[in-house]
Symmetry: C2
Subunit: 351 residues, 2 copies
């Protein structure tokens, strides 16, 4: 196994290294090829002003002859996750993960058993659970995502994702991603854009599947975050343990503030759907110099997905709410307003 | 310029996209080629146990037949900057940048002119400035890196870097990078590793040159950080402005805590030099499962660079101090202890 002279294996390693980097290049080629398929780019999108706005934006920022050309190292595109890249109804996936962990937490901390909101969750009473406040939900998230080492948490998320299924489609949550948005991610990357997730949820949760599901590596995922604390376990080995509080909060303007904090760039394109955490991000991106694309996903397709949004005269389900103010801003500032019903030929890859 | 049918230019754009990604692939090829030059890998390193430890680590983690093989998406390597990738003497580059900005800040806030530590800096008295405490330095950093928009700050850093020169070598600071460490970065990347900077300095400063100087893009730079605040300028355009306080502090254990916060992975390799912010990072990396490499750079070459470090019987210059505790830990835990004098054939590319 171990050659006596460490340099004797260099050529073999050279070959291995080249192979190791090839998948990345293969992905790029595939994405370029995709952008040139006979059906054209964005095959799951219906032709119309929204698809055209996306194509126009890419042309304006990547054609060297364009006055709005953007150098490759500044090509940054940012995507909200819940309700923009995948289904957020009837409740955010990560919240279900946390609700499923309440039993585990109570086993280690029995004093929580008789306390709200933990006893409501343990009761299994769906109607009572639906009435939990955002503050209750935060308390559950912080309690169920702290106390263990960060590496144990990674393993727990992976295990849960492999088993959990969406109640409506009976499929893993990681399959409930919007095919048209996967095509936008690929199309942008094929044109030299780096794609980032900026989620109101916990980045530590999303990072466990972002590369596999979206082609977005963990270092390009920003989200709400709990601080981790350095310490030592009983065997005096150094560990990092998440604490039950927030250090980065991606709600409201926090999402774009923290995006800058983590990456130091104003995106040229951003996509979102909710007033709770996407409004300032989309406003800031659109206000930049040159060509900028802010995309707003409307959930107006009850048959194929869900229909909600008081600004469009649809029910306010408290999950992914689009306010009238944000909807008006989108129209006034010429965001690309994406109707799932009218702009998307299909919603999921498995359809 | 703008074709009537947006789809007519797709093939041309396809070609442009392919060209846009080629530089990235070219870099990879160059790095692979470098690893196979006749002189072998790491040509600026003398043969010896340290060079061999680096080569052994790469082989153990990238050879599929190795029991310590690491899948490509977990190959993460982390580098301190000041004193590890580039010169930190006689004073950290970013601090010089901030000192140079004091005049600018005082012009906008004249009340600071007669206050410590600003009046000491304005006096130009080098001896008095050398006695400024760490607390004074922090106050100067926060005052000179806040109040402007984040995009104005980017422009200011770029402008300063283009003009400023190191007093000893009379060259831009961005040329004072250690050639042997650039080779480690390239060698690791050629073997599928992603390379990250984790600096005790401000990430917003380092991100303006990290890609050009180290091949490390801004999203792979973690550092001490001030929060940015969303707001509107006098024309009601949305802006982000840095605030004069800290949200992420990369000193001591903060560096590895924040590394996890930003990237969610335990590195397989890390390099550092100073007790102020590298000790816990190197300890944590080395304590991981499988093959792990923690490298400690010793500044023991007064002729070609600088010699400092009380643990080695050299002067304690208060910049990049290596404590006895950290030095003992390095030996006990089998870190790769890098002597600039003995392990490096040359220090800079321009030599």
């Amino acid at each position: 196994m171990k050659p006596r002279n460490p340099y004797s294996s260099i050529n073999r390693r050279g070959l291995l290294s080249t192979l190791a980097v090839l998948p990345a290049f293969a992905t790029i080629l595939t994405e370029s090829a995709l952008a040139e398929t006979p059906g054209g780019v964005l095959p799951s999108w219906n032709d119309g002003p929204v698809k055209q706005a996306i194509v126009d934006f890419v042309r304006a920022t990547t054609d060297q002859a364009s006055p709005k050309f953007v150098p490759p190292d500044e090509r940054v595109a940012e995507f909200d996750q819940d309700g923009t890249l995948w289904v957020e109804h009837p409740i955010y996936t990560q919240v279900i993960f946390c609700l499923d962990r309440v039993g585990l937490v109570v086993k280690e901390r029995p004093e929580l058993k008789d306390r709200e909101p933990f006893n409501t969750v343990l009761s299994g009473d769906r109607e009572a659970m639906a009435k939990l406040s955002m503050r209750d939900v935060f308390e559950i998230v912080l309690a169920t995502q702290s106390g263990m080492t960060v590496e144990q948490f990674r393993a727990d998320v992976k295990q849960w994702l492999a088993a959990a299924k969406h109640p409506r489609w009976k499929r893993p949550y990681t399959e409930l991603v919007y095919q048209p948005m996967l095509e936008v991610l690929s199309y942008l990357r094929a044109n030299g854009y780096k794609t980032f997730i900026a989620t109101g949820g916990s980045e530590s949760f999303v990072r466990e599947y972002s590369e596999r599901v979206y082609g977005i590596p963990p270092e390009q995922v920003a989200g709400t975050a709990q601080p981790v604390k350095y310490g030592y376990d009983k065997d005096q080995r150094p560990i990092l343990v998440a604490e039950p509080k927030l250090i980065l909060n991606n709600l409201e303007a926090g999402k774009i503030e923290n995006f800058w904090l983590l990456y130091g760039r104003r995106p040229y394109a951003a996509f979102g759907n909710s007033s709770s955490d996407d409004q300032q991000m989309l406003e800031y991106v659109k206000a930049g110099s040159g060509a900028r694309l802010s995309g707003l996903v409307l959930h107006d397709d009850a048959a194929r997905e869900y229909a909600y949004g008081p600004a469009q005269g649809l029910p306010d389900t408290k999950v992914g709410t689009l306010s009238q103010e944000m909807y008006d801003m989108a129209k006034k500032q010429d965001w690309a307003i994406i109707s799932m019903k009218n702009d998307w030929k299909r919603i999921f890859a498995f359809e």
